[in-house]
């Protein structure tokens, strides 16, 4: 999978350069609320429950200031990805105990046509593993810059 193929899953509605959240629970709630507010999902509690259970399996704060909360839910009809950034850092109980600055939240439907969910998840991990990419994401100032970044990643 190429990074460019990810472009269609992002939307300016779900792009937040300065999240308010200070910890994991606040962050998950803030992002899920955004999905509801922009009518991408109907109700927050089912998605929030799914993401909270996912964290019980192991933190999606995978280290190096990154968190990728993710999961399939019956309350979604398509794959959607929210991007959020925190300048101050979020206490996310990450595996390296460091604060999280970059967040990609991936919500997937129970079945998607070409089963894209896991390849998408893998591609995002791959992109964020490169320190050059993390640095760029920490410095972008707009959704347009973000899209330009993905198109070239």
């Amino acid at each position: 999978m190429k990074a460019q193929e990810l472009l269609k899953y992002f939307n300016e509605d779900l792009f937040i350069l300065d999240v308010k959240a200070k910890n994991k629970d606040e962050l998950l709630a803030e992002l899920v609320d955004r999905f509801v507010e922009k009518s991408y999902i109907k109700k927050s509690d089912i998605v929030l429950e799914m993401l909270t259970q996912r964290e019980k399996l192991g933190s999606t704060g995978i280290g190096k200031g990154i968190a990728i909360p993710h999961g399939r839910t019956t309350s979604a009809s398509e794959v959607m990805i929210a991007f959020a950034r925190s300048k101050d850092g979020i206490d996310y109980e990450a595996i390296d105990s460091k604060p999280v600055h970059l967040v990609f939240m991936i919500i997937a439907p129970p079945q998607d046509e070409n089963n894209m969910y896991l390849p998408i998840l893998g591609k995002i991990v791959e992109i964020l593993n490169k320190s050059k990419n993390r640095k760029t994401l920490l410095s972008i100032e707009s959704f347009v810059e973000f899209i330009d970044f993905l198109a070239e990643a």
Binding site: E49, L57, I68, R72, S77, P110, Q111, V125
Partner: protein, 111 residues
């Protein structure tokens, strides 16, 4: 807090999908060691859902992999893509009763 039975069933399916994805997610480099926690959460959910509904869920799951399917705003079942009658969607959107698709027989969840 999830209270309605249909929503509890949706949460159960979400949990079951998560459990079946564990090995793939680990392969991608995520930490996923707490399977016991999910199984415990599953037991708790099951205790709040009626036996008859659980029976249909398990039976449909064997046949289709996903027992519950979302219904899009235009009333299309995302399992078999038939268009459902509007009379059903009024009831369905209230999430207060369990409705089965006339086309594929799966449990419907209105988005």
């Amino acid at each position: 807090m999830i209270k309605k039975e249909l929503e509890l069933l949706v949460a159960l399916q979400d949990l079951d999908m998560m459990i079946s994805d564990i090995s793939e997610v680990k392969r991608l480099g995520f930490e996923a060691e707490g399977e016991d926690n999910l199984l415990k959460a599953r037991e708790e959910l099951i205790s709040k859902i009626s036996k008859s509904l659980l029976y249909s869920y398990e039976k449909l799951k064997k046949h289709y992999k996903r027992a519950i399917v979302p219904v899009k705003e235009d009333n299309t079942c995302l399992g078999c893509f038939i268009k459902l009658p509007t009379s059903l969607s009024t009831k369905g959107r209230a999430d207060s009763e369990v409705i089965y698709c006339e086309g594929c027989g799966r449990i419907l969840y209105w988005l």
